[in-house]
Amino acid sequence: MSTQDKVIAIIAEQAVLDPSDVTLDSTLEDLGIDSLGLVESIFAIEEEFDITIPFNANEPEQSDFDISNVAAIVTGIDKLIAEKG
């Protein structure tokens, strides 16, 4: 599975949706994922890819990790995987 497919699977599970209902331009809000759901998704993504996502739930906008939609999340993860080398 590609990064994108894995991320969509994780987010779909969190949102209790079928992966086909999660698109690249879906926002977490569109998918009904609240702040606790977001932290849980980030945990699942970190576990899946063995990376550390710089995300602080107190100031999501200030974090160096774009969560504005699914595409941005996938791009951010690919970047972290590449940096890990």
């Binding site: 209790v16 606790l36 849980e40 945990f43 970190e46 576990e47 550390t52």
Partner: protein
């Protein structure tokens, strides 16, 4: 002051997954203690306990709930569901705004601590699930009951080791008696039967390797149990006005502190709690027909407790019955008083006194009628429930037949 009655009861413990199953087991003198089953049990010296069997949390709770509910919370929600359903109460409007949840637990989410310590220390992981804190906190169970049933009044958790449930129920009683709340959900829950939980108790060297035999001369220690007991305490007129079934009345309580030793019990502290409960309930000592003992099966507790009862009741100590149901369900630590309250309800409502099973040899230091091995039919008008905790914190409840 208002009168306070119990209009709902629920439980899950080693003797059953409901009040009916539990009382049947108590009546039959069945033992729920057996071989422990969990990871690394082979590294324990103590391998027995009153474990809840055949409990599948999956299926009862959805995925989102499962990540938030430690086993002690799962037990609480199962028991609370039974109790609230039996009471027939629905919490809306003013009733919801003034009713709350006071629960006891000694350890809270012990297996959540255990699993996650194992993960970071033993498995060397550097990341834990984001809900570890809300899952393990001692008030998690009380909070989830308040959320599930829309209870918006005062809610909190009481933690006084082995007396947690009795302190919690005494507090809930006080809140209803004073008129502060028309109904309170109360009781307690514990789930320490995991490697770390049992290992810690092993360290004290007060645990039995074979059985819990309270008051028997050959007793050799306590056996841990797990589970929950939850009740609906309701103001008497409120219950009567809606035609609710009343299980029994809570007539009074007392709490005392030994102010002496962190683990050794004191006869004076226990006696002050027992006599205080009688005074608070305006009950004469000779009206008491049954005492559900703290009766842990340790050398120290049982003889101290019997001496305290003899002191408070004088000659009447020989007329009353006193049994320890821990011989059957084990010691549920912070949840124990709640499950044991069921034995008091059975005595008052059904006229059946639960036995102390495993009783083999009389002990001259415990020379009371401990209802050995077989349940007994008797008309009981007043019952007491004793709880004496490590740290010397005692709480005794007095209950009456309605």
């Amino acid at each position: 002051m208002k009168r306070v009655v119990i209009t709902g009861a629920g439980t899950i413990n080693a003797l059953g997954h409901s009040v009916a199953e539990t009382l049947t087991s108590m009546r039959e003198g069945r033992c729920g203690i057996g071989e422990l089953e969990f990871r690394d049990v082979d590294r324990l010296a103590i391998k027995i306990g009153g474990q809840v069997r055949d409990f599948e949390a999956e299926g009862r709770f959805n995925r989102q709930q499962m990540v938030l509910y430690d086993r002690f919370t799962q037990f609480t929600l199962v028991a609370a569901g039974q109790a609230i359903r039996q009471s027939g109460l629905e919490f809306t409007g003013d009733l919801a705004a003034r009713s709350g949840v006071v629960l006891g637990t000694a350890g809270g989410g012990v297996s959540t601590w255990d699993d996650n310590y194992r993960s970071v220390y033993e498995d060397g992981k550097n990341r834990v699930h984001p809900f570890v804190v809300p899952k393990l906190m001692n008030n998690a169970a009380a909070s989830h009951v308040s959320m599930e049933y829309n209870l918006k009044g005062p809610s909190f958790t009481v933690s006084t080791a082995c007396a947690s449930s009795n302190h919690a129920m005494a507090q809930a009683f006080q809140m209803v008696r004073s008129g502060m709340s028309p109904a309170m959900i109360t009781g307690g829950s514990e789930s320490m039967l995991c490697f770390g939980g049992v290992k810690a108790w092993e360290g004290l060297r007060v645990m039995s390797k074979d059985a819990c035999r309270p008051f028997s001369a050959n007793r050799n220690g306590m056996v841990q149990g797990e589970g929950a007991g939850i009740f609906v305490f309701e103001e008497y007129e409120h219950a009567r006005a809606r035609g609710a079934e009343i299980l029994c009345e809570i007539a009074g309580y007392a709490m005392s502190s030994d102010a002496a030793d962190i683990v050794m019990p004191s006869k004076q502290g226990a006696a002050r709690a027992i006599s205080g409960a009688l005074r608070d309930a305006r009950i004469n000592a000779d009206e008491v027909g049954y005492i559900n003992a703290h009766g842990t099966g340790t050398a120290a507790n049982d003889k101290t407790e019997c001496a305290a009862v003899a002191d408070v009741f004088g000659p009447h100590a020989d007329n009353l019955m006193i049994s320890s149901t821990k011989s059957m369900h084990g010691h549920l630590i912070g949840g124990t008083g709640a499950v044991e309250l069921l034995a008091c309800i059975m005595a008052l409502r059904d006229g059946v006194v639960a036995p102390t099973i495993g009783y083999e040899e009389p002990d001259p230091e415990c020379a009371l009628d401990v209802v050995p091995n077989e349940a007994r039919e008797a008309k009981v008008d007043v019952a007491l429930s004793n709880a004496f905790a490590f740290g010397g914190l005692n709480a005794v409840l007095a209950l009456k037949r309605v």
